[in-house]
Amino acid sequence: MAQPFVKKDDDLDEEEEYSPFYGIEKGAVLQEARVFHDPQLDARRCSQVITKLLYLLNQGETFTKVEATEVFFAVTKLFQSKDTVLRRMVYLMIKDLSPSADEVIIVTSSLMKDMNSKTDMYRANAIRVLCRITDSTLLTQIERYLKQAIVDKNPVVASAALVSGVHLLQTNSEIVKRWSNEVQEAVQSRAALVQFHALALLHQIRQNDRLAVSKLVTSLTKGSVRSPLAQCLLIRYTSQVIRESSTNTQAGERPFFDYLESCLRHKSEMVVFEAARAITELSGVTSRELTPAITVLQLFLSSSKPVLRFAAIRTLNKIILSSMYGFNEQSRFAKKMVASTHPLAVTNCNIDMESLISDQNRSIATLAITTLLKTGNESSVDRLMKQITNFMSDIADEFKIVVVEAIRSLCLKFPLKYRSMMNFLSNILREEGGFDYKKAIVDSIVILIRDIPDAKEIGLFHLCEFIEDCEFTYLSTQILHFLGNEGPKTSDPSKYIRYIYNRVILENATVRASAVSTLAKFGAMVDSLKPRIFVLLRRCLFDSDDEVRDRATLYLNTLGTDASVGGTDEDVKDFLFGPLDVPLVNLETSLRNYEASDIPFDINLVPKEVKSQPLAEKKAPGKKAIGLGAPPSGPTTVVDAYEKLLSSISEFSSFGKLFKSCSPMELTEPETEYAVNVVKHIFDGHVVFQYNCTNTIPEQLLEKVTVFVDASEAEEFSEVLTKPLRSLPYDSPGQTFVAFEKPEGVPAIGKFSNLLKFVVKEVDPATGEADEEGVEDEYQLEDLEIVAADYMLKVGVSNFKNAWENMDPDNERIDEYGLGVKESLAETVSAVIDIVGMQPCEGTEVVPNNSRSHTCLLSGIFIGNVKVLVRVSFGIDGSKQVAMKLAVRSEDPEISEKIHEIVAEGKSSVKGKWRSGRWIGEMITRSKLVEQLREYQIRSQHKWGALAAFSPKPQMATRRGCLCGSYICFGICLAHTILLCSTLLQTLHDFSGSCIPWNSSSNMP
């Protein structure tokens, strides 16, 4: 040893600071590198210098081009030494220097010599180095050696060549693909890791050849794969093959599933987990397939190893997530299956997951909480909330938002628990947090207030408290606006005034202006408060800000007792707070185009036709955390938006109040030339189809777009009017409407076929100008149907028992139905919910696993504003025969009858096929039921199975399509709600800011 590694300093008193590289300097080390040029090489010294160089590089030091070249050339000299340690360091150094192409030439011959040396270590490493720095011309020279190396008997050499092959495939795929025979041979190697590397390379060579991959998987799943890593790879490839083949074979056993299942019993945890994960990600996985995987994950949950616990809980969490949005799924069928089975399967792990809430590892705890929030049942909510409270302060904001969103959906699922959740939300609202977090909380409270009437007062109170100390102007104004709408309708509006007026005293101008508007709303809506509000508003006349003073003046003058400006009291209120009858977008454009002149701006000149409909089109598929089974919020707010849209079209104004708007239904396959979906709007005596069309061809401009509807299969409907879309440019959605008349208040059903008609004009993509001449064309759309469920509005009740008992028992209609053989109760329950289109209450849509009977509570409003409550009990026997007892109470006995008819005819509204044909048997219609019951009594066997056996002409029917639809619709509706709530509030706020001054100037003398 020529020189000690360490430059010892005198002040080594701090033992901590001691380091062999203490005080190292690049310049000095580069000087030292001159030893590489010594004729008599000192191997040990040289490797020490290389270590120093590598240390510098590792610390992030960079060499200039000149320095790097100099070092590189010096290092190449070291190939003369026979020292093995030094040679290894030289290899490392060359890799880290990553020499340029012209420098590579220098070492190529040395490396090629090493590649063919007798020392295996040299060979393996030389291959790796050479392949890393080589280019394609050099590669052809060494290809022969690499091919030999792949099948070398030394596993290290073979692995080195194979791994290098994987890297080279990215840049020189043509050459590497020629090696497939050798790689194929290596796959059969007895060395575990050689097999792993060979498998990885072989798959990549063949990845575009489905058949080859399938063959590879078929042969390997039968044989023995040695290393756990290779086994993991094989599992990945197998699930890829399953994924690609599942589209062709819908029925029967899933290919290779046995293999995946057998991997669950592998001795390596890595393989077990990989298999479990693969199974949960299968598209359209059934609960039978899922159960063994979940059992394995459940075992992992109680492992002593954090990594195992984390892996398991994360997979379970993903199952829940994918069940809600169908993330990884490819077919629509798949989504439905996942949605119906997964949450239940995961519920089994609830106890294990609860113990993870207090896990030391925060990532695990957070995942456990969010999973539990989505699977938990009503009884565990209180306990869960308690645990979360202890835990919230420790986690990052982004996790907190996830928790808040999960709680919101949980609350919508279990409305009775609103008190504890509201308290929780208000508590976290008071704690520190960023804007997004606070906004998520406020949004949640607002949604809860809207959907759970009982929660209104307490929620508003929490919001009031929050704005007392809120640093975010946006949130303050949003809340003030909301208070103005909701506050006056509460039992004691006066208690909010203090909070609002405090804002006028304490806040910035923007918030003050909002507070003035809110005060005025209270004054306008609550007569008893008016005089006192006026006192407050008068004080605002002395505000320092123009906007605040303007608003106060406007309100004082218009709402004033003499009512001198506006006409009647109603007119004034409508003018100030009523909805604007022009679309905001159009108003904005008109205002932009308005040039200051003597002619005042006339709002009546603003076009009322909506050019594009951002609300319905902006789907938010990635929008996070929307609770399962929490749909009630969706329809109401979406309906608000549709109502606005429809009321802006004068032709529809005579139709009366909009009863229901269904969620959009696609009429075209995805990625076709024209994307069209339809929204059914139901009125008392009319039905309006709103076709949302998107033109996806940049070279075309469509004009005079209409939908020709053939209603020959819908006898009770007669077309009354068509509203064409004037022009439909590329990628900007537009609507065309068709309206039908139908018998008033009758839930008429029917089938409609649609044909899109239009004039197409060529567009020059360069200039964007359309040709003068157009050609008429048409485009066939899918059929659409009006079904009975369209006449049912999903409206939940918070206390079903009370509501049920308050309903007249004389209007109750009870009947029993045999449903035949079903896969499970859970599927049957959701099918029935879909058929009646009602809102499940109190979380009763979730069927506990393996239960033999279940009662589901449903509520809704039928057309004609008739409240309907349904109690439906299901039973299943050993042979999977399902029977159902349906009790309906409504305000009108005829409607109760009607619900039974809907259920009886339910089969006709459900189209499609069952994958395995299990949904044989059908709902027995009432007329047939009488007959069958008679027979039933004769046999007097009180077995459900007997009843089902009578089902006439067993028919294939399905729940797949409709269930899938409903879950997607839940998701979309909820996403919309959240979007809508925030956008509406925002636009309204923005609007009140921009529009009031204009109002005031045009109205004031």
């Binding site: 290290v156 290098s164 890595m270 990989e274 195992l308």
Partner: protein
């Protein structure tokens, strides 16, 4: 220069291996992915990994954390912090196996005298060890005794000590297996 890893989605891939000291400073690091293109990006990642894991107790069992779309498994001994990073859809147990292989191999190479000082004094062994575990993001070997064996063969010159090494190595492996089977 690291090879692009993105296209290799179905093969398990490692994004980086970090060996930091108790203040979060580098002892040895190796990046296999382009996710962190600059030195500052790398240092920022190391800093956030370090601060996120600092307070945890990863001395008996490997711990795990997920952030910014990465999964990091880690284990501490003395004043050394070992990290292995993978993408967020990677099998966590594979990452943990790599970490365990690295951790145990370093233990074998430093003769169970694992601390920052010894690690720096034997930095060449540590770097060779990293080189034998992962090649451009692909797992080369996870069995600690094999990794240590490959690195150590070079550290000894004569044939005699070579066989000696193999024996001690075999003993170490046996000890390891025994300890593991007892722990199970």
């Amino acid at each position: 220069m690291p090879f692009p890893v993105s296209a290799r989605d179905s093969c398990p891939s490692i994004k980086n291996i970090l060996l930091l000291d108790s203040e979060g400073k580098r002892v040895a690091v190796k990046y296999y992915s382009d996710d962190w293109p600059s030195l500052s990006a790398k240092l920022a990642f190391e800093k956030s990994v370090f601060t996120k894991t600092q307070k945890t107790n990863a001395r008996t069992e490997a711990e795990i954390v997920m952030f910014d779309g990465y999964i990091v498994v880690y284990k501490f001994i003395q004043d050394l912090h070992f990290f292995v990073t993978g993408g967020d859809d990677e099998n966590e147990l594979i990452l943990a196996t790599v970490l365990q292989g690295f951790f145990d191999a370093v233990g074998l190479l430093l003769r169970n005298n694992v601390d920052k000082r010894t690690a720096l004094e034997n930095l060449d062994l540590i770097l060779l060890c990293l080189d034998e575990i992962i090649d451009g993001g692909i797992i080369l070997e996870t069995e600690a005794s094999v990794i240590a064996g490959k690195v150590a063969t070079h550290g000894l010159d004569g044939a005699a000590s070579l066989s000696e090494q193999t024996i001690s190595q075999a003993l170490a492996t046996a000890r390891e297996h025994l300890a593991r089977s007892l722990l199970k």
